[in-house]
């Protein structure tokens, strides 16, 4: 039996609010199934479960702001003999004090040793001024990390939480969380913590666009590929040789991620933007990527992005070409360490073999974290992206999965 916890769907998420919950107590859930909706600062996100099994009752109230890590339900995994909800057998009350009064405890048969009771959490030391400030700002001071005297939660900790999280919804029927504040918190943190460096490279696009025109020739409009898909794929494939640009920097340590889960910056109609991930971009065909991109944009704008798409982009690609700018220098989304920007495709005089001609070009930029990579490597990466875009036909073949 395991606890299903409210996941952190991004480094800037501290709280969330369950607004929908689908499974009946005792019903079967399977890995990847969407079992509810959590409202976060970034909007409503579908909540996926990562085990197969039988789920118990929802242990929290809907519409109440909860800290990340709160137990939402218990799941008896497939293979464990007993059902969590058949109402028979020994009854071990859950030791978790976070369960609200009145919540029905699923009776549980435990095979093997009973779960260890968690030691009662010692009283958090929150200074009186910090407690007052937390109340004024609507911050839950009981779940902050204290950096004051003797590990106490100080005003500084509350202010930091307030800035980073944005104002969380108040308990109960709170107003929807403010995406502007979430962006403000994440971007402020980025500019405060990440020493960005910026590089740009002009990439000839004639080969890519010509190939695209012929590839789209026989397709209905709805199935046509966009240049953006080629760019995503080129970035993903190039990243395989530049692990220091693809991963997470947390607590002073960089962890490279072998797969390229590319966060795609999508502007929302109500303002603001989110950058959920398309997973395993390097391993997908262009057609699949086009489908995934269309689907993701549609779902982002209708507010049904999945939790895994929010939680794990390893790099972000932003394409402001459709807005008409030639170059974009982006702000890295922590804990990622790089962001690639593409501008508008423009016609420019271009020298090939000592002859001036007209070429369609695009400016690709890289914003990268200098704690993890250096400009020389960044330059080679942009170069590699450019080279991949000169051979678009190669991008259409799903490359073999890297053995690493």
């Amino acid at each position: 039996m395991s606890d299903f916890l409210l996941p952190s769907l991004g480094a800037d998420m501290d709280t969330g609010m369950i607004t929908d919950w689908y499974p009946e107590p005792g019903s079967h859930v399977s890995r990847g199934e969407v079992i509810g909706v959590v409202e976060t600062a970034k909007g409503a996100i579908d909540l996926e479960i990562w085990v197969d099994g039988t789920i118990g009752d929802l242990l929290v109230k809907k519409g109440v702001s909860l800290p990340v890590g709160t137990v939402l339900a218990t799941v008896t995994e497939a293979g464990e003999a007993a059902s969590a909800a058949d109402g028979t057998g020994a009854d071990f009350p859950s030791p978790d004090a976070a369960h609200p009064a009145g919540a029905v405890e699923p009776p549980t048969i435990v095979l093997g040793p009973p779960p260890l009771a968690r030691p009662a959490e010692s009283r958090r030391h929150v200074t009186p001024a910090a407690r007052k400030l937390a109340r004024d700002l609507g911050v839950d001071s009981d779940h902050l990390v204290g950096t004051g005297p003797d590990g106490s939660v100080s005003m500084t900790d509350v202010e930091r939480a307030h800035t980073e999280a944005g104002p969380p919804a108040s308990a109960g029927e709170g107003p929807p969380m403010d995406i502007r504040s979430a962006i403000a918190a994440a971007m402020s943190r980025s500019k405060r913590e990440i020493p960005h460096y910026y590089l740009a490279e002009t990439i000839p696009m004639d080969a890519a666009l010509d190939w695209l025109a012929s590839a789209n020739g026989g397709r209905p409009i709805s199935d046509r590929l966009l240049a953006a898909v080629l760019q995503l794929k080129a970035v993903a494939v190039a990243l395989r040789d530049f692990p220091e640009l693809n991963g997470f920097y947390r607590d002073g340590v960089f962890t490279a991620v072998p797969a390229a889960h590319i966060g795609v910056a999508i502007s929302l109609r109500q303002g603001g933007l989110i950058a959920p991930a398309i997973h395993d971009v390097a391993d997908k065909s262009l057609e699949q990527l086009m489908h995934d991109l269309t689907d993701l944009v549609r779902r982002a704008r209708s507010g049904s992005v999945r939790s895994s798409e929010f939680a794990d982009p390893t790099i972000t690609v932003t394409n402001l070409g459709e807005q008409g700018v030639e170059t974009v220098f982006g702000v890295i989304h922590p804990p990622q360490v790089a962001l690639v920007g593409f501008g508008r495709v423009v016609e420019r005089p271009w020298v090939v073999d000592a002859t001036v001609g007209v070429a369609r070009v695009v400016t690709a930029s890289l914003s990268a974290d200098h704690r993890v990579s250096d400009g020389g490597r960044g330059a080679r990466f942009l170069r590699a992206v450019s080279e991949r875009l000169q051979r678009p036909e190669d991008l259409d073949i799903p490359p073999r999965r890297s053995s690493t």
């Binding site: 200074t127 009186p128 001024a129 910090a130 950096t147 004051g148 005297p149 100080s154």
Partner: protein
């Protein structure tokens, strides 16, 4: 004009003697010897033995005489060599001077100023080194002043003499040699504490002889980026708590530095009021830096170790600011 704290006290007494014929100075060795701390040096030559009166070695007797003179219409300044010996005069100060307005139903007031030295740091051993000014700060009916700067030494006596009730002025003996430029005509508000150094992250509350140490600590803290405000209580009774509270509302952290012993100290009173009135402004537990609870030792290294020092003040600040 650049003068010492000692000069400042002498000039203040001289001004008072010149301004009001009812003023006189009395105490042990204030006349021919010029005062145990040389504050009254030369005054007997200028004002004569009637107004600069040497008294017998009997604190209870001469403070009582001063109280009688005050009731009778004079404005006596009585000097007691140190606060340690003022214990012998407690009955006159506490039972008579402080209470007579109350006991007489308002018929008599006692406009006396009692000056005394306090504090350690000069290897004078336990019987000459204690800081007992909080005893007087405990007593309703008294005003207790602790000039900590040359300017306050220069300016506090005049309003003290103007007070119709008894005033105790406690002078830290380690301050007599400090020097400062003091403009003519300077005044002092003996109702209010003074902010000696504005700051935003931390309130350091002190008074008297600890002020120079606290200011030195604040300078060192500033060098490492901690911006401390330094408050000089200046008036131990009635305590100007509003100034402390206003500072704390800005800084949310406080260390109180008091050369008295911690148990039953003035620092304890300040922290208690903070707890009562400012709890929700506190972002860290308040700390006190006081003298070790031992008789102040004679040996230099032990005496230094027993007293609040710049290092111990900084250490306390680090605990509070983490």
């Amino acid at each position: 004009m650049r003068i010492t704290y000692r000069d400042a006290m002498r000039l203040a007494i001289r001004d008072a003697l010149l301004a009001d014929p009812r003023v006189l100075l009395m105490g042990e060795d204030v006349g021919l010897y010029g005062g145990s701390y040389a504050v009254s040096k030369g005054l007997i030559d200028e004002f004569g033995p009637d107004r600069i009166r040497d008294t017998p070695l009997s604190e209870l007797g001469f403070v009582g005489a001063g109280v009688g003179a005050a009731i009778g219409g004079l404005r006596p300044i009585v000097e007691i060599m140190t606060v340690n010996f003022s214990q012998l005069a407690l009955d006159q100060i506490v039972n008579t001077a402080a209470l007579l307005r109350h006991m007489s139903g308002g018929q008599f007031s006692v406009p006396i100023v009692i000056r005394m030295a306090t504090g350690a740091g000069r290897q004078l051993a336990a019987q000459h080194s204690h800081s007992l000014e909080n005893w007087y700060a405990h007593v309703p009916g008294l005003r207790v002043l602790t000039p900590a700067t040359v300017a306050d030494a220069r300016a506090m006596l005049e309003p003290a003499l103007a007070d119709p009730d008894p005033v105790v002025i406690v002078e830290h003996a380690a301050l007599y040699n400090i020097e400062a430029d003091v403009p003519d005509g300077i005044t002092c508000d003996i109702e209010r504490a003074a902010v000696r150094r504005p700051g935003s992250q931390m309130s350091l509350v002190t008074y008297g002889g600890s002020l120079p140490k606290v200011l030195a600590a604040a300078d060192l803290l500033a060098a490492e980026g901690i911006d401390a405000e330094v408050l000089d209580l200046r008036v131990l009774r009635p305590l100007d708590f509003d100034t402390v509270a206003a500072s704390l509302r800005r800084t949310h952290r406080v260390v109180v530095v008091d050369e008295g012993w911690k148990s039953g100290s003035l620092a304890g009173e300040v922290v208690a009021r903070i707890a009562e009135e400012c709890l929700f402004d506190l972002d860290a537990p308040p700390r006190r830096v006081c003298s070790a609870e031992v008789p102040i030792p004679y040996a230099k290294h032990l005496e230094d170790a027993a007293l609040p020092q710049v290092d111990s003040i900084i250490a306390a600040v680090r605990q509070v600011i983490a």
